[in-house]
Symmetry: C2
Subunit: 297 residues, 2 copies
């Protein structure tokens, strides 16, 4: 894989989903537009758009229209963005920097940030349920169901709760793996599921994408932990060294950096192997897995 | 209408939807169950269940199964409950008392309350999109769409934002009416729309229910404002006198208590008239409108 070429491809896809998200959140002249402004500030402030990339290129495997897959991709990114806004709040992680910019509650205020997150989550379901996302209403209902399960108390929010209540110093590898599967893995996995649902994929194709996404999600998290230890805040775009300072067990604190990196590499290779049934059509997804391992931010 | 009989009927319906909500949020043994406990604490802590009543009895007009209408009713109540949890947060209204009990962030903590609200909102869409809610997937997708629009930045959340940014002392009657239509009216209106969607109602029936719900919602809010001025905190179950203390313009501060009461009465009568096309089948909805006017808490 040519990393620079791939980054350019990701960037083109990112700008395409940005354009869709921009169109889904029009500004207006009423005073409550402040919540739309806050949503747009956090949603459209850049980012690699890994999740939209996964949705689009999973859907591409089945010839789904780009119009449909970008709408669904926008919905997932809205959920990701809402989770970041709420996670950054003083009562949660209390972060002031995100993607190199002030976090939502710093730029606006806490109340506006809470509402902006709430409205992004709500908008995501509105987008998925809308006629334009798919002509078959069963697909639209199934998209909503899949995203809700991935984002809710059995998925992402459950993982965030677990992260708050866990006695981090005592976490074992199986426990931290479960935590990360819920906190970040569930939303990454549902990206591929959404692509498969849009494309009415066969069961074997669902399973292959699901296996890919689970390995990818864990690799992604391990690399995140490595960047938290080794990364430069200016490049990463958010505070680093926070986990160690907070005494949090991570893949890196449990395994050491070298074994963690080897584990991530193994997961990435495994993720790529799951895509064999799609042959070269899955090259973008394979390249993403390699990119996740190589990334420095 | 016999108020005591009607209260007993409301109470039976409330306990029926409580049972459904209880079943939708099972406890488990994993540590992240704390977020489920917080959701259950706020959701199952009593309440009149006005919104579930509206969903069920709107759906009843069209012979919808109680199983379906109670699931949809549970979804709306989850959205209502999430909005209360987030509204009560220190960064928002900073309330410590709700329905006579400690608010979610006081009973648990702020982070847990934020997550519990997020998870309730998410669960609502999961419930609506689920197979058991309706056999026709188009209805399920339309339910999601309707609830998302009512709850999001163009509805409830937009109204909450407006409430925060409004220069309250300068609000005119049209402005405060718009604020309340968004903040509380949109969710009340969607209850009746959900009943109509479940029952595949004709356009004229949709319109009648919508007109009823809009008048009812405004009457409900005016009575709320009256109770804030005249009510007893011990009966109302939350702090009273807050609007006046905050210098907030309300229907009562703009109209005076007597004219506000007359306005609520007029709206209730008008709401009841909109239901004429349903004849006596709409008696529960008519009685609810009268109850809203008579209530003391």
């Amino acid at each position: 894989m040519d990393l620079e070429n791939f980054k350019a491809e990701m960037d083109r896809d990112a700008r395409a989903v940005d354009a869709v998200m921009d169109g889904l959140l029009p500004l207006h002249d009423d005073p409550e537009v402040r919540v739309i402004e806050a949503m747009r500030y956090s949603l459209l402030g850049g980012g690699k758009r890994v999740r939209p990339f996964l949705v689009k290129h999973s859907a591409d495997l089945f010839g789904v229209s780009v119009r449909a897959s970008l709408r669904a991709a926008a919905a997932v990114e809205m959920v990701h963005c809402y989770s970041l806004i709420h996670d950054d709040l003083p009562a949660m992680d209390d972060d002031e920097l995100r993607r190199g910019r002030a976090t939502c509650h710093v730029e606006y205020d806490e109340a506006t940030a809470i509402l902006a997150g709430d409205a992004l989550l709500t908008k995501a379901f509105e987008v998925l349920a809308g006629d334009e996302t798919h002509s078959d209403p069963r697909v639209r209902a199934d998209l909503v169901l899949a995203l809700a399960k991935a984002a809710g108390a059995e998925g992402m929010v459950g993982g965030q709760m677990l992260d708050l209540v866990a006695e981090h110093n005592d976490l074992t590898m199986p426990e931290i793996t479960r935590l990360q599967r819920m906190k970040t893995g569930a939303l990454i996995a549902v990206c591929c599921e959404i692509g498969a649902l849009l494309g009415k994929a066969a069961e074997s194709q669902h399973l292959a994408l699901n296996a890919y996404a689970h390995d990818l999600g864990l690799a992604f998290q391990i690399v995140d932990d490595l960047l938290d230890v080794e990364g430069d805040a200016a490049v990463v775009g958010k505070a680093t060294g926070k986990d160690a300072a907070a005494g949090k067990a991570t893949f890196v604190s449990l395994l050491g950096a070298d074994r963690a990196r080897a584990q991530a590499r193994m997961l990435v290779d495994q993720a790529v192997e799951h895509l064999a049934i799609f042959a070269e059509k899955a090259d973008p997804l394979k390249n993403l897995a390699l990119f996740v391992f190589e990334r420095r931010a």
